[in-house]
Amino acid sequence: MSTATAQAAETAAPRQMRFRETRRLVRTYSRSFSSMVGLVIVLIFLFIAAFGPLLAPYPEDAYGAVDFGAKLLPPSAEHWFGTDQVGLDIFSRVLIGARTTLQIGLTVTGIAILIGVPLGLIAGMAGGWVAETIMRITDIFLSIPGLILAIAIVGALGPGIGNAMLALSLVWWPGYVRLVQAKTLSQRNETYVDAARALGAGPLRVVFVHVLPNCLSPIIVKASMDMGLAILGAASLGFLGLGAQPPYPEWGAMISTGRAYLPDWWWCSLFPGLAIYFTVLGFNLLGDGLRDVLDPRQR
């Protein structure tokens, strides 16, 4: 046997194993009905977020066109979800609002991971007063109800969708510090990490090649759950008038505007709320399913 084929066999074997592992995970995941429902909802949501302006029957209604002739029409074949107080098609606005919602979820979760994961790694690896300081600060942040802190931050910076996202991100990172620190602590003294150290791996290599990949599963699971929670949080801020400002097509703000038109014009607030519910439900079920597959001990 030549060395080339030996090498090829060596690289093929792990690849095949990884393929088999992936297939096993996919099969386990798809066996759960609720996980599949979650996946389907999330895929539909992503599709709408990507193509919302093309799917919407009245895309110009998203950003403050006005048509008083068609105001407060009930749901019909022409306007599936009815129209609002200035005659805007609510179905179009809900579809186009999906993109805003996705942006908010990704930004908040992304920033929280970017702040929380490095801090968690440092706290887990460093130990001593560094870890103590990081963890105490984390505890303090975790001891304030998140929504209240976010409101305080938006109150300081002024209402608006950018500030709302910033506030939510600043509230969200401590959860990741806790998670990653605990995981790092448990990995730090595993035999394989000791072996890597004994083979001369530096601290950076240990962290990025050995410890971090083993923290990925719980981070992915938490991120999926947090997408849903961040979407809820942003909608809550929008509802309070602290997030996106009407006529911007954001679901929470739409509910807030529609509130004044209950009970006779119920469709103004019913449909945006349903959109939030199904989106959050989708991400929660997806997160549950991923946890069952990736991190079965964390139940």
């Binding site: 609720s34 105490r136 600060i137 505890d139 303090i140 942040f141 001891s143 304030i144 109800p145 998140g146 929504l147 209240i148 802190l149 409101i151 305080a152 931050i153 938006v154 109150g155 300081a156 910076l157 002024g158 209402p159 849903g228 809820l232 909608a235 809550s236 509802f239 309070l240 008038g241 602290l242 929470g252 509910i255 509130r259 209950l262 009970p263 119920w266 607030s269 019913l270 945006p272 709320g273 939030i276 519910y277 199904f278 959050v280 439900l281 929660n284 079920l285 549950d288 139940r299």
Partner: protein, 336 residues
């Protein structure tokens, strides 16, 4: 036990200091001139300068922090720019209503959540279990302000089963203030009718507020029950012919309840935050509505004060839960 309490109290003081640092930082990174904000939009330049000197805004940041701590220690939470009222007095007025609502909500969540969690575990993978789990996943995904609106629309406006909002009807007499919680005050006053009216007013907001907590309690309790029901001592109890009800109540639930207890403490804090959303929907005059109004008008000191107070309330709850944990579980007690 005493050592544990002292240790936790000490930790709580440190955490409270940290909380004050956070609110102080937020207040100080706010764009704009704090003196002008505090003096109000119509103040003249002289008045702004006067406020600046009065409240110490002209001093360096660390000095200002200690002035802030001093104010907090004296119970001075600042003044609202818009109403000119003392924040501490406002909060003292509104906090009992919020506590009453949150206590009622957490009671609903516990009273329904624990049995539902147990039933779901007992009926694992049967129709009942699926139904309860659907309730649990929905409860975690429903925006509570929207749920509140929908309940109000359907049950109060359409069916007229419940009042629209507020704590009591316009023509009801408010009982003499003792605790500030109307149900308790009315009972102390020997007026169960008013207590019931007040409770009736809280049903819809409490339902909206309790659903996420209910969902969480069901989830945790179901998972714990499933685990405990698989343990050897439960099998053993079954083999001895002990009835299923007794096994669940006396053997399994007792051990499954601890993680649920921790979850209840956590959810208490989230509910305090949730009042900001729900109280507005039902025009319920508590600190949540107060904070929401203040936040929309960028009225600074009330928001910071509410953050502090609710943060402190959350810390106290967690302390109590930890102590209860230690009382119930000797392993936790001996660890410390």
């Amino acid at each position: 036990m005493l050592r544990l309490i002292l240790k936790r109290l000490g930790l709580m003081i440190v955490m409270l200091l940290g909380l004050a640092v956070i609110t102080f930082t937020i207040a100080n990174v706010a764009p704009g001139d704090p003196a002008r904000l505090a003096a109000g939009p119509d103040a003249s330049q002289e008045m702004v300068e006067q406020v600046r000197a009065e409240r110490g805004f002209d001093k360096p940041v660390p000095v200002r922090f200690f002035i802030y701590l001093g104010q907090l220690a004296r119970g001075d939470l600042g003044t609202s720019v818009y109403t000119g009222r003392e924040v501490a007095r406002d909060i003292a007025q509104f906090l009992p209503a919020t506590l009453e609502l949150v206590l009622f909500s957490i009671t609903i969540a516990v009273v329904f959540g624990i049995p539902l969690g147990v039933l779901a575990a007992v009926w694992q993978n049967k129709a009942g279990d699926h139904g309860i789990r659907l309730l649990a996943v929905s409860g975690a995904a429903l925006p509570m302000f929207w749920l509140g609106l929908m309940l109000q629309w359907y049950l109060a406006l359409e069916l007229d089963l419940f009042p629209l909002g507020g704590r009591l009807g316009v023509f009801d007499d408010v009982p003499p203030k003792i605790t500030g919680m109307i149900t308790i005050d009315a009972l102390l006053d020997g007026d169960p009718g008013t207590a019931f009216t007040a409770l009736w007013h809280m049903v819809l907001p409490a339902l909206a507020l309790s659903l996420p907590a209910l969902a969480a309690i069901i989830r945790v309790n179901r998972a714990e029950m499933l685990e405990v029901l698989g343990r050897d001592y439960v099998t053993n109890a079954r083999a001895q012919g002990i009835g299923p009800f007794r096994i669940i109540a006396a053997y399994a639930l007792k051990n499954a309840i601890l993680p649920t207890l921790a979850m209840i403490g956590l959810r208490f804090g989230w509910m305090l935050g949730g009042t900001v959303l729900v109280e507005g929907v039902f025009d319920f005059p508590g600190v949540g509505l107060y904070a929401a109004k203040a936040a929309v008008s960028s009225d600074f000191e009330p928001i910071m004060a509410v953050t502090l107070i609710l943060g402190a309330a959350f810390m106290v709850t967690n302390l109590l839960i930890d102590l209860a944990y230690a009382l119930l579980d000797p392993r936790v007690r001996n660890q410390i």
